[in-house]
Symmetry: C2
């Protein structure tokens, strides 16, 4: 009744976060996608998802439509599974990751005079994402982007497993290629990324000099991806 003209807004928006304007619907939609991803082997049904993200079932139905259209999720009977559109999107991530890391790698390669690389973990393997060769050396290691090797072998793979309490970098020799030495440091502080930055050389690398430089480069890459 009444409808008192809404003079000044009695209690406008206490719950709304001040200073940050966001999108509730998209937030819920992404929460939905995340919920589907998290319920890995279980059975994520629509009702489950509704309670998980704290919305009504009707809302979940609406939100599923765009997600389905883009292939991010698919319906398997009454269950909801992740879709293949995510693979297509993920394919586009690596090039942009490479672009972001190139400046730091370039500087590292030129400073040390050895081939520099960014390597990310993919399951139990490590994959070279970006490689930069120094411009002024007579000889250097040619290392191919896309190369994969076990996480447990080579400085690049081992560095990814380093924890906070471990030293910031490590060196190996001849683990992947006889005669080749590597020094690598993990990229820390970037959620969702297990990666390392390092250099490779056929000459012996002086850890006391190169180690800190690699560490700095890893920090720069982390900064660029933050």
């Amino acid at each position: 009744m009444a409808r008192p003209i809404r003079p000044i807004q009695p209690a406008p928006r206490p719950p709304v976060a001040p200073g940050k304007e966001s999108s509730l619907t998209l937030e819920r939609g992404l929460a939905l996608l995340q919920a589907v991803a998290d319920s890995e082997s279980e059975a994520p049904t629509i009702s489950d998802l509704a309670t998980t993200i704290g919305a009504s079932r009707a809302a979940v139905y609406r939100l599923l439509v765009p997600l389905q259209d883009r292939g991010l999720v698919r319906r398997d009977g009454s269950k909801v599974r992740l879709g293949l559109g995510l693979l297509r999107l993920a394919t586009r991530v690596t090039p942009q990751l490479r672009l972001a890391a190139l400046p730091a790698l370039r500087e590292l390669a030129e400073a040390v005079g050895a081939t520099a690389h960014l390597t990310v973990a993919d399951g139990e393997e490590a994959q070279a994402i970006a490689v930069i060769e120094p411009s002024w050396t007579t000889y250097h290691v040619a290392y191919r982007v896309g190369t994969r090797h076990p996480l447990a072998r080579g400085a690049a793979g081992k560095a990814i497993g380093l924890r906070e309490e471990d030293p910031g970098w490590l060196a190996t020799t001849g683990e992947l290629q006889s005669g080749a030495s590597g020094i690598a440091a993990p990229v820390r502080g970037v959620p969702g990324l297990r990666a390392s930055v390092g250099v490779i050389s056929f000459q012996s690398l002086d850890g006391e000099v190169v180690g800190p430089r690699v560490l700095t480069a890893a920090a720069s890459v982390a900064e660029a991806l933050r």
Copy 2:
């Protein structure tokens, strides 16, 4: 003009799609994400994105907040890049893909009496996503999930490249392992997926018999992922 029946309802929602209730905001948010992914090496700035998805800049700002919070995009100065959250999500896709394909692979392996596999293309390489060994054979090929090999070698990889006008399946011998034969067929009709289904054996495989079975299995997998 007529508007034949529709006795009640004068003209409630001509623009709104009938029968399908969707979410415009989420649709736009995903279009935004897609736009960022598509503008690969270019410079995707906020204004660009606004015009690309056909919304106001203010809308893009709002939509970016949840996307950023989830790490799906990140801001690099005034540019927008894809984030690493996509990698985390993509990691969860493969297990669900495997689950969907298992029944068809199981049936194929038991029927043929050879190891069956689902292989997807990842860049220039092929990776085994799911492997099922037959239960009743004395010997069979042991094939590891996660194995990678060039797309150009082996039935699994070559089959992925088959086009619509090509035959539905192909056979190879000794391309990946001397003495091993393979028959594989591409998984067709699943947008965003470049994959094949096949069998491997150390004995010679009769294409006339096994080929059609592989073809059927590939269709089943496609159906399960549709």
